[in-house]
Amino acid sequence: MRDFCELIVSVGEGGGIYALAALAYLLVLRPTGIVNFAIGELATLGAFVGVAALAWAKLPYMVGLPLVVFTVGLISLLTERLTVHRLIARNAPVLSPVLVLLAMLTIYRQAGASIFGTANLFSPPPFGFSRIAIGPFAGASQSFLIIAVTAVVFAAAWLFFERTIWGKAFEAIAIDRFAAALMGINLSVAIMLSFAAGGAVAGLAGLLQSPLTSASYLMGFPIAIKGFTALMIGGVGRVEGALVGALLLSLTEKLVLRYAPIPASYALAVPFLLLILFLILKPRGLLAAGEVRE
């Protein structure tokens, strides 16, 4: 039982990172229909900026975290202004923004590697490597931090979409872009903000994960894959979908790793099989969504 509760904390931690990544996709996908696969690399940049701010400049965490979130959000925003905006403005084919973002993925990664090098870098966890126990649930302090931050971010995201005018505007754009524009919603600003928000959340995910694994220029790809899989499972329509999908993915993964009697090497194929399965059978995910365009 103690083992299982400990595992639950681990599921929460993994699920938290995947959920933030899934949210990063969602924030951009909903209003624009664009899948920004580069969020994995944005997470890496978040981790690197974190290393620079916290390990090198020795800034306090309360300063470092907002700095990371702001910086990566800004990078994402600039990317949108310089590339995606032009393509949308001239009505380029649907696949073009996706392709340009894939190219940006390579650029982010190489730029990160050039500036920060290819060796792993130590990213200091704000509460050290200590272990915390809340009742029967025990785990690393960083794991609890991740769970807490994810809960806060998702609560904020839910409130935004359900309770604020801007949130409703985003939903409107997702449902019918032209009607939304006719209603006076500034599409260009909304899209710009969605990219900024997506980037910020991705950067946060990278910052939160890096103390556990250390910051590395290759860490982005798995985050991007896992985040997308989580989104597919939970449903591309709603914020709750990102969270549910992420937790389910994390749960399945960890349960298999812990208890399944299959050889370790085959366990690696599980996330990919899940991804393929959901893509084929349930591309809308488990939770019903509002209208989604592809």
Partner: protein, 318 residues
């Protein structure tokens, strides 16, 4: 008779030029040339799948690997004669591509990309875990060059084989493009709903084009296997996929001449860049692709067309 000769002329000239280059180059330059030819063969089939049929398939390089491993495992490790080994590999490629294409027909755009990416990852895992059958993480090595009618096909003679396969792939795709099926492919790629409205069986078209191009990729793979007589999983990875992808976009997706231009330019660029820039070459490729998508959506071949129009040269069939 004259008409047939006139039609065949550009082909013969191209073939002659390629062969002449093969005979002239030696050592290092010959090696780059051969690898460029194989990459071009692979890029041509990818161009048709992605540039024309608009299927973002990241599994392409895996089929390339399948061809290479297939012919090596069967032809060398299991000691089958070459012809049945090649045939069996083609059959496996067709069957596997059907297995991938049929369930994913409904997926479009990025979602198809992700499904095929997952397939590619599974393929790599299978190769690495294959133990002695696939040579595991270190691959299969040390096999001899194939022989045809008693002549060993290595060195320059093998380059001729590569050229033959390249031209054959080009010809097959060309004929495909000019056929009714080719027009259907293009229609489905441009707008699948409109194509369906016109009576085209979208699912069947998409499946067929995936199978044909993936099998052509496998053919390119079979040729690759004997370049250095070594296959290993590291070659058929995402880096190569991105490279092919970049070549297609930068060269001009949808047009065969564009893709070939992209392959040549990127190969020569990486040769010269590696001396000067080294570590940042991938960064530069990324920037070039972004510039290409933003400012030259028709690729380098589009720019070539513009230059030609300015110079008043006649338009050539793409």
């Amino acid at each position: 008779m004259r008409r047939a000769l006139r039609a065949a002329a550009p082909w013969l000239v191209a073939a002659a030029a390629l062969v002449a280059l093969a005979l002239v180059l030696r050592g290092y330059h010959a090696d780059i040339y051969r690898k460029m030819l194989v990459t071009a063969t692979l890029a041509l089939s990818f161009n048709y799948l992605f540039g024309v049929a608009k299927q973002l398939a990241f599994s392409h390089v895996s089929f390339f690997g399948l061809g290479a491993y297939g012919v090596t495992i069967l032809g060398v490790m299991q000691h089958w004669p070459m012809a049945p080994a090649i045939l069996a590999t083609l059959v496996v490629a067709v069957v596997l591509s059907l297995a991938v294409a049929i369930p994913t027909t409904r997926l479009e755009g990025f979602y198809l990309g992700l499904a095929t990416f997952a397939v590619a990852q599974l393929f790599t895992i299978a190769l690495r875990q294959g133990g002695d059958f696939t040579g595991g993480p270190d691959g299969l090595h040390g096999y001899a060059a194939p022989t045809l009618f008693g002549i060993e096909l290595s060195g320059r003679r093998y380059t001729i084989v590569i050229i033959a396969v390249l031209i054959a792939t080009f010809a097959v795709l060309r004929n495909l493009e000019l056929s009714y099926f080719g027009r259907a492919c293009r229609a489905v790629g441009d707008n699948s709903r409109a194509a369906a409205a016109m009576g085209i069986d979208v699912a069947r078209t998409r499946i067929l084009v995936f199978v044909v191009t993936s099998t052509l990729a496998a053919v390119a793979g079979m040729v690759y296997a004997f370049l250095d007589n070594y296959v290993n999983p590291n070659v058929f990875d995402f880096d190569l996929m991105f490279l092919i992808f970049f070549m297609t976009i930068v060269g001009g997706s949808g047009r065969q001449s564009g893709v070939l231009l992209g392959v040549v330019v990127l190969t020569l660029l990486s040769e010269s860049l590696s001396e000067v820039v080294g570590s940042h070459s991938v960064l530069i490729y990324g920037v070039i692709v972004v510039i290409a998508i933003l400012f030259w959506p028709s690729g380098l071949i589009g720019l070539v067309d513009v230059v030609r129009a300015r110079l008043g040269w006649g338009a050539r069939a793409p």
